[in-house]
Symmetry: C2
Subunit: 102 residues, 2 copies
Amino acid sequence: MSTTRLDIDALTTALADLNALGQGGWSLSGDQLCKTFIFPDFVRAFGFMTQVALIAEAMDHHPDWSNAYAHVRVALSTHEAGGITERDVELAWHMERLSSRG
Amino acid sequence: MSTTRLDIDALTTALADLNALGQGGWSLSGDQLCKTFIFPDFVRAFGFMTQVALIAEAMDHHPDWSNAYAHVRVALSTHEAGGITERDVELAWHMERLSSRG
């Protein structure tokens, strides 16, 4: 998995795919790929985080994220690349997959 | 457990106790009781969050918090009281207890 920072074309395509083929809501904020997931309650929100945590640890690639009750805000970037890489896009897709099974 | 907002004297005492009898690092930020916990790695950090999540759900009182790798930033307040209550102090003590067991 490449840790090269995605160029603007690759990033635009990745973002469009995430929003078209996933549940939407992804955006760019500075050098981070971001989304706020909203669940029915805290148990569902933290259950999602727990599933993502296991994947993230296995990938050795961890999100910056925050949680307030049923909301989970994620901000993905690859620190050593100074921006968004394929690894962030891969983690985003895992999040889409896991959140849709709520 | 009272959900009355703590007055400044009660809050000062609670904060002093947390920092003197716990591991320290608690501060007030606006209407929130805050601390940044730092762990050796993500597994320890998320393990802490998982333990706190179970307690928080049982208390029906949930933290606002964020995580970036080994760092967990918590911000406790009681929304319906518009500030910090005994429930926040109780949750802070649970966090102290759980974080000290690594």
